[in-house]
Symmetry: C2
Subunit: 152 residues, 2 copies
């Protein structure tokens, strides 16, 4: 039922160092309990929270923001509005990231394809080489295909 820090590290994918660090940083809702000998004990809920936490982190939420959230939770009922707002802000943030990545991806695919064509024709040197005299012309060509974006 109770989990030691080592197990939690293994199951959460975080290092034991990171777990202690997260605790110091106030990222656990329930201040971690200790055994009489001082060792930390964790429970399944902690693992669940760490899973969420890890997702938030990997989607770009800072530890500071996660701490804000958890502080609202600790204050108990009455601030639901703020919690929701915080979550929605992150939602928007993630949506924006996805859009940007998608855009980058489109540009890259386009470039890779063209690059590849030219490699086949032995002219690769002209592409993706900003110091080459033809680079600008090539960029302009791309721009014609993607008129909404700045040229590259």
């Amino acid at each position: 039922m109770d989990l030691g820090i080592g197990e939690v590290a293994e199951r959460s994918g975080l290092s034991v160092h990171a777990l202690r660090f997260y605790e110091r940083e106030g990222l656990f809702a329930n201040p971690v309990r200790r055994l009489s000998n001082g060792r930390r004990i964790y429970h399944e809920e902690d693992l669940e929270w760490l899973a969420i936490c890890t997702k938030l982190r990997s989607s770009g939420m800072s530890l500071a923001t996660i701490r804000q959230y958890i502080e609202l939770v600790r204050q108990g009922p009455g601030n639901e509005h703020e919690r929701l707002e915080l979550l929605r802000r992150h939602e928007n943030h993630v949506e924006a990231q996805i859009r940007e990545l998608q855009e980058t991806l489109d540009v890259m695919r386009h470039k890779v394809r063209i690059y590849q064509d030219h490699v086949v024709r032995g002219e690769a040197d002209r592409l993706w080489n900003p110091s080459h005299p033809d680079a600008a012309a090539q960029a302009t060509t791309h721009q014609e295909c993607h008129p909404s974006e700045g040229g590259t």
Copy 2:
């Protein structure tokens, strides 16, 4: 035709500090030229490259990798295969990021919606609160809806 560092900073969105830093780090294909008085001069191509560079950065490519790429470019023709490979690796990386963000987003939306329902019913305290005794039960409920993911 020629641009000063200030103009480039303004148009690229990078600081003058960052531009000098990027130069030190070898992130320009064509080592930046100088006026007789030592001042840097840039051209449109540099701005184009910086735009690409910024996209690569914001999609998670490290400066080290960008440097690798630009080094291949500087070596001239003959390594197209490596360049393409580098770009494709990043493409995959970006695709993976998008998938992960999308997943995070789905989970968040689900949680926000449920949270909201409960706020309306005045039971918000039970949700997204890992220290609350009902948290695990709630997580399990979610898991039924998203069986492929770990419960939160």
